[in-house]
Amino acid sequence: MTKKIDQFQKMLLIIIVIYSVFVSVKNPQFLQVQTVFDIVKTSSTTMIVAIGLLVVMISGGIDVSFMAIALFGSYTSLLVMINTGINSLVFAFALSMLIGTCLGLVNALLINWLKLPPFIITLGTQNLFHGIMTTFISDKSFGSGVLPSCLHEFGQGTLFKVATENGSAGLTVSLIPVLLAGIATYFVLRKTMIGRGIVAIGNDEESARRAGFNPFKIRLFVYAYSGALAGMMGIIYAAQVNALYPNKMVGDELMVVAAVVIGGTKITGGQGKIFGAVLGVLIIYLLNSTLILIGLSSSWNNLFVGAILVIAVAVTSYQERVKNRSHLIFTE
């Protein structure tokens, strides 16, 4: 925590730079503000859930239900708004985050009660939440016409715009919630006792208990927090795509997990940095949003993305392994 940028993040930055240079050489169009703006916008939703997931993973857990939570929260609150005619962004966020928090609490309770790996539990609740929502709430899709108008305004909103060759590009307002989530999380993790408790139970739950932390309460907080962030992400997602589907998002969890892990978060918990997670998400989005620029035809997309992903994973993991081995730490 002392060094601002650690070895690992340096590695990721190098990978990003090398790749960016490669893309710029293939297509100079890459070098423009719009690229940055686009990546910020397209990755903003993932950033938020990645930050939530990061907190969970630092606490030594994992959550694969956050997309189901995001969907549950946003779908339900927007449905309420459609049916009641409420047209307030604040309401949307508040209700969705509230629902997210509650579902997160359910995760925490189950994990605490069943004392089983969180991966399994949240795999179950992912199905459970999605099933409950679609069975008991609704399973209809809603197009842009019916959605509250504040949503579209938010999704399209920009902080400022710059002119481009054929129009204009704006920096999305979605950046604000991302920054808020990032700063809040940094504050929680770094400056609050509960945050240190999260790190502590991630290091060793028994030791944390002996140091006076209550792992159960911390876990409640962690999953509720990630649930709230998921709820927030759900609204932003709906605003950006300007439509409401009962079956979107769910299924993309593992990519986010991968992003967070590539960002240097220990799968075993206790260690992880927000900046790392952000870099991890960036790498994945950078990759996926430059395929057209480098002129790759669609049928080669996966091969290319997969190869780069494997290389990135191998390189970063191998570095870590060499470092550990030289300290006689066998991580396997």
Partner: protein, 338 residues
């Protein structure tokens, strides 16, 4: 394939007795019932979304209209594997007819074969390529001409010149690919001033988000792009991307479209044309055709499948073409509510 009635419904014996009598008087020789209530027809759709929700309403309507014992099976995901497994279960349950909108027609062929070997009538929709293996394939139109419709509308919107890009849901989606190829071919032949920016379509992964992200990237890679067409119903995502870049209306979009999901884009001008066929009607027609075949009445050119656009099907081999393409513009979109 014809089928005897006794294998059908077992619950309504008294009714059956009556209908058998009626059938006897009507056809006098064969012991075949024409009462729809005696036939169990199941429609397997691709997945749960607005499109197939609408198809389900059509099928409900059919049930109401005719009393046909028809139901819908919705797989958990848009995956051929789930469709196959549902179909296997249905074969074992001995239904009279199965209608299916295959995710991957080729993958379904052996199971279809198995169903037909078991005496079950199989009707497909959106699978002209495998029509040889089924009793009937119902198409809302000829895929080539629907693709040309995309091209025609795009060309009209773009004034016949400029760069364009084509999207499909995925390279694995057969009908999307057929439309894409027909559209591109048509544009190449008829509009020499229009240029496709890529040799292959871009994949939007059947998601608005995917369409949005890909559109942003295309805009960057080809700043002079003037039009998009999307063979999956995700044109809204492209419109969103255009709106963000203040290009809505400047860059034209033609897309497969559901009225409920794209009316705003048509009205605000960011989408110039929406193309569609009514899923409810297609489902209605397919199931009704399945019943006709199962009950021995058969389907031939000119048969009325009782759904809008299918009142006089054109039979070509095993494919029954309706005439049901829908074209949406800002002016007529309010006439549709699915």
């Amino acid at each position: 394939g014809t089928k005897t009635a006794d294998a059908g419904d077992t619950t309504t014996t008294t009714e059956k007795a009556e209908t058998t009598e009626a059938a006897d008087t009507a056809e006098s020789t064969e012991n075949v019932s024409a009462d729809p209530a005696d036939y169990k027809v199941v429609m397997i759709v691709k997945q749960s979304d607005s499109w197939f929700d609408d198809m389900a309403t059509g099928i409900d309507q059919l049930k109401k209209d005719t009393g046909l014992n028809v139901s819908v099976q919705v797989p958990e995901t848009g995956d051929a594997a789930s469709q196959i497994s549902i179909m296997e279960d249905l074969i074992a349950q001995d239904v009279d007819a199965i209608c299916v909108v295959p995710n991957d027609p080729n993958a379904l062929v052996p199971t279809i074969q198995k169903a037909r070997d078991a005496g079950i009538v199989v009707v497909t929709h959106e699978a002209p390529g495998t029509a040889d293996s089924v009793d009937l394939d119902i198409e809302a139109f000829v895929n080539e001409s629907f693709g040309q419709l995309f091209a025609e509308n795009l060309a009209k919107a773009m004034d016949g010149k400029g760069k364009y890009a084509g999207f499909v849901g995925g390279l694995t989606m057969e009908t999307h690919m057929a439309w894409y190829e027909a559209a591109v071919k048509y544009l190449e032949e008829n509009y020499p001033d229009m240029e496709n920016v890529a040799t292959e379509p871009y994949e939007d992964g059947n998601s608005v988000e995917g369409a949005h992200d890909k559109a942003l990237e295309v805009l960057k890679a080809y700043p002079d792009i003037a039009g998009f067409f999307d063979c999956s119903a995700q044109g809204g995502g492209i419109c969103e991307a255009l709106q963000e870049n203040d290009l809505a209306g400047t860059v034209k979009v033609v897309s497969l479209a559901l009225p409920s999901m794209s009316s705003t884009y048509l009205k605000d001008g960011s989408m110039s044309h929406g193309l569609c066929w009514r899923p409810a009607d297609a489902g209605y027609a397919a199931c009704y055709a399945a019943y006709l075949i199962a009950s021995g009445q058969g389907v031939e050119t000119g048969t009325d499948l009782k759904a809008t656009g299918y009142d006089s099907v054109e039979l070509e081999g095993n494919i029954g073409y309706g005439n049901a393409p829908l074209e949406f513009t800002a002016d007529n979109i309010d006439d549709y509510n699915f």
